[in-house]
Structure formats: structure tokens, C-alpha cells
């Protein structure tokens, strides 16, 4: 399984990432998930979220999740970008691309990845009001 993991304090450049997609002709499904910062948290308006990461461990934990996906689903490739630092409301904090033969495994693996990362990858949020 091809993997590409980016943890960055720069805005996520979706068009540039799209340009670099590799879609081998035996693959039938691509899923993108984009998590964006919303302009409120627990009902109160916010300007941004400040993301903090324990980056070395975050990378390792992401790789462990990718290992699990590789074992469980026939996924061709995963590209994941997580932004850290200040992310303004309306901007993307997470971008995931998953390429697979069929949509079933693409959806299953993508949802599992996001659910699990929220349990184990050491990244924290702090709302900025």
C-alpha cells in the first residue's frame, strides 16, 4: 500500500494534491475526506483552532493505523495531510485520500482511519475565540 503522510503548519493545497493523485487503471474508487474548522464550538463562536501535535509520536501512530488498514482492506494508497498550528474557521485541518478497487473497502477503511486517529494520534485542539 502506498502511503504519504504530511503534518504541516501550511494551508492544505487541495488542487495541488489532486494534481498528484495516482489512480492506476485497475482501481475503481477514490474517496476524499476533508475536515474543516467550524466557526463555533459547543455553541460559542470561534475564530480558529490551534492544533498542537506531539509530532514524532503522531507520525508513528498514523503509520501503525496505515499498517492495520493494509492488513484489513485491499487499499491501493492513502495520502493524509494534517495541519497543525492556527487553522482559521472555514479552512481544512485534515485531508485524506484513499484509492481502492471498490467503494466498499474505500469507505470502510476511510471511516475507520478517521475514527481511530481521533483516539490514538496525539494531536490536540484549542479553540481561539
Amino acid at each position: 500500500m502506498d502511503r504519504e503522510l504530511t503534518i504541516t503548519d501550511q494551508p492544505i493545497d487541495e488542487p495541488a494534491l489532486l494534481t498528484k493523485r495516482r489512480l492506476p487503471p485497475n482501481m475503481g474508487a477514490v474517496i476524499y475526506f476533508i475536515g474543516a474548522v467550524r466557526d463555533s464550538e459547543s455553541g460559542a463562536p470561534i475564530q480558529a483552532i490551534e492544533y498542537e501535535a506531539f509530532e514524532k509520536m503522531a507520525r508513528h501512530q498514523f503509520e501503525l493505523l496505515f499498517d492495520q488498514i493494509e492488513k484489513r482492506w485491499p487499499v491501493q494508497s492513502i495520502r493524509l495531510v494534517h495541519r497543525i498550528g492556527r487553522v482559521n474557521a472555514g479552512e481544512a485541518s485534515l485531508w485524506v485520500e484513499l484509492v481502492a478497487t471498490h467503494r466498499g473497502e474505500a469507505f470502510a477503511a476511510c471511516q475507520w482511519l478517521i475514527d481511530e486517529m481521533k483516539k490514538v494520534v496525539p494531536i490536540w485542539k484549542r479553540p481561539v475565540s
Binding site: H60, H82, P122, K125
Partner: protein, 81 residues
Amino acid sequence: MDVRVNFYSWFKDMTHCSETVVSLPANATVRDLKTAVFEQFPKLSAVQNSMLIAVGVDYQGGDYTLKNGDEVSLFPPVQGG
């Protein structure tokens, strides 16, 4: 042995620092380390049920035996995405 302990997220706010060093006997476990850390930062013991603990880049439980050079991280539940 001396073990470095890192704090993340609002654990830093509670301890007013991002790292500390605790002295432990040889063969001390993560559980022993927590006891030592709670002595230094009593507020942390109140949130120990929602505390995650890593040694290096892997999560570890209380029984894990620390060795010289280990770096321990204590942090609240993660919230990426």
C-alpha cells in the same frame, strides 16, 4: 535513573511546564513514575482517569518497566482531525 517527562495540551497549563525530569529507582514502572509525577504536580492526579501515557512513541500501561533513557509523555485525550 532519571526519566524525562513531557506534558502536552492542557496538561501543560496544569503543570505550568512542558517537561520535567523525575528520579526513579532502577526497574521502576510507569505506575511508579505516575506516583512521582503526582507528588510534584498534585493537580494531575485528579485527571489521571483521562490521562494517556506514552513511552517514546508508543502507548504503555502502568506495568511497563522503564529503562534508562526512556522519555515519557503524559497527555489528555487526543482530538485530531
